[in-house]
Amino acid sequence: MVDIDLIKRCQREESDAFDLLYEAYSTKALRTACLLVGNRNIAEDIIQEAFIECFKDIKKLRNPETFEVWFHRLLVRVCWRMSSKERKSVCENLDDSLTETIPCKEDVFKQVEHNQTSHVIREAINKLSSPVKTTVILYYYNNLSIKEIAQIMKCFQGTVKSRLHNGRKLLAKELRNAAIDIGWYETDYLEKECMLNAKRNSI
């Protein structure tokens, strides 16, 4: 929920309001950026750049209720821009420091299984095109609606739905290809996808 009063205070350039806004949004923004560009160092640069632009331009935001969409849009664009500059880094995996530590021996098996799943999903997401990847992350990680994502990416809601569908399909395919020991990847969902595809192809 957007703190409208806080946004208005930022628009009045109250210094402590900037601090509070940073505190409220920086962690999630960093994590989003990291998922989008796949590199923590670049993500930190992105956060700096995004908040500089945010603080500089927040006065221009006419409707404070739309702050979250506005800020995500700004963040995504900085990510795209930095990704262009650091194109080689975009496909890098997240670095080791992001890998979870294993809490105790009993959880080792689950942890390995989870890491394997994470690895496959992470790799699969990195293979997605930028628009699809951005859509998937905004939808699944930031819990944004189709409408909000369309506003952020300045495209039609149908385009978002289509990208989401394509993203799911590609992720499902990658997971299925990699599902050597993990049976639950072979779900009805995948079967349904195959049936739908077959139906489409036969039309």
């Binding site: 962690t27 960093l30 956060i47 700096q48 632009e53 006419r62 795209w80 300045k154 495209c155 969902y189």
Partner: protein, 284 residues
């Protein structure tokens, strides 16, 4: 349905756990605050890279006699990224300019020089653009004309980003493709159906040369691009330009679509170098 939810939950859970332990580094806010104070110059550098051909954003209906008399063109280049009511803002900026402004003319020495003139004698044009990740096919549907350009051009240029622009005095859209190479040279390819681009070369371009390439006529020209200081995030035309860039460009028409290839004035390209790049577009 349940398996769909399960699948969605797996993705959500993986993404969440992937970055769960990630927190902002201490001191980031201080860096941001420090960056804000020096932001103006950084922003300017980036904005300059985003500048498109000034001829494209000249307001329609430019008073030619006034131009002939004053030999000057002032172009308001606004890159209003993230700002929804861009057009209203541009109008606001323009209406605020009521005093003497600086424009650029070619002096007796043959060099471009800034001179002052009353704002009412200068026509302002503006365009707002935003980066887009739409594919060329999707863009074609949006702008209504063909966009078929390669992602790699001669000279080792590769596509950095695509921007979608709207001219603020019309609803016309145009597409701008930004390329760079390993030598940090940049070229921008603007694509539009607005024939003002083509026609205005004759009016505003300097050192115009008509060339022939791959059965097409191309026009090579240069046009000064002043870089003004910014005050409170707005371009201040009442101050002397910080620098005057001189982009070199090639423009041509193909199937009713106008193309303008420019070196942006950051790293100057020779006419032959620009022609090589244009050739790789025409030969695709």
């Amino acid at each position: 349905m349940q398996s769909e939810i399960l699948f969605d939950n797996i993705i959500k859970s993986t993404l969440n756990k992937e970055v769960d332990n990630l927190n902002t580094a201490p001191g980031t806010l201080d860096k941001i605050k420090a960056g804000l104070s020096s932001e103006a110059s950084q922003s300017k550098t980036f904005s300059n890279r985003k500048l498109v051909n000034p001829l494209l954003i000249l307001k329609s209906g430019f008073n030619k006699p006034a131009y002939a008399l004053l030999s000057a063109v002032l172009v308001l280049t606004l890159t209003l990224t993230f700002f929804q009511p861009a057009r209203a803002f541009a109008q606001e900026v323009i209406s605020e300019i009521s005093s003497m402004v600086y424009v650029v003319v070619k002096g007796d020495s043959g060099k471009y020089e800034p001179i002052q003139m009353p704002a009412e004698k200068v026509t302002f044009g503006s365009a707002s653009g935003e980066q887009t990740l739409l594919s060329d096919d999707e863009l074609e549907k949006l702008v209504g004309f063909e966009i078929k350009v390669p992602s790699a051009l001669a000279g080792g240029y590769t596509l950095d980003r695509t921007l979608l622009y709207e001219k603020d005095d019309t609803d016309k859209k145009f597409v701008s493709k930004h390329y760079s190479n390993s030598s940090s040279a940049s070229v921008i390819l603007d694509i539009s159906t607005d024939d003002k681009l083509f026609n205005s070369v004759m009016d505003f371009g300097d050192n115009i040369k008509k060339l022939s390439l791959v059965d097409k006529f191309l026009y090579y020209y240069e046009c000064p691009l002043p870089v003004y200081p910014e005050v409170n995030g707005k371009t201040d035309f009442t101050q002397k330009p910080l620098e005057i860039k001189v982009p070199h460009s090639l423009t041509w028409e193909h199937n009713g679509v106008y193309y303008n290839l420019s070196d942006v004035g950051i790293v100057s390209l020779s006419m032959d170098e620009l022609l090589e790049v244009a050739k790789s577009i025409l030969n695709q």
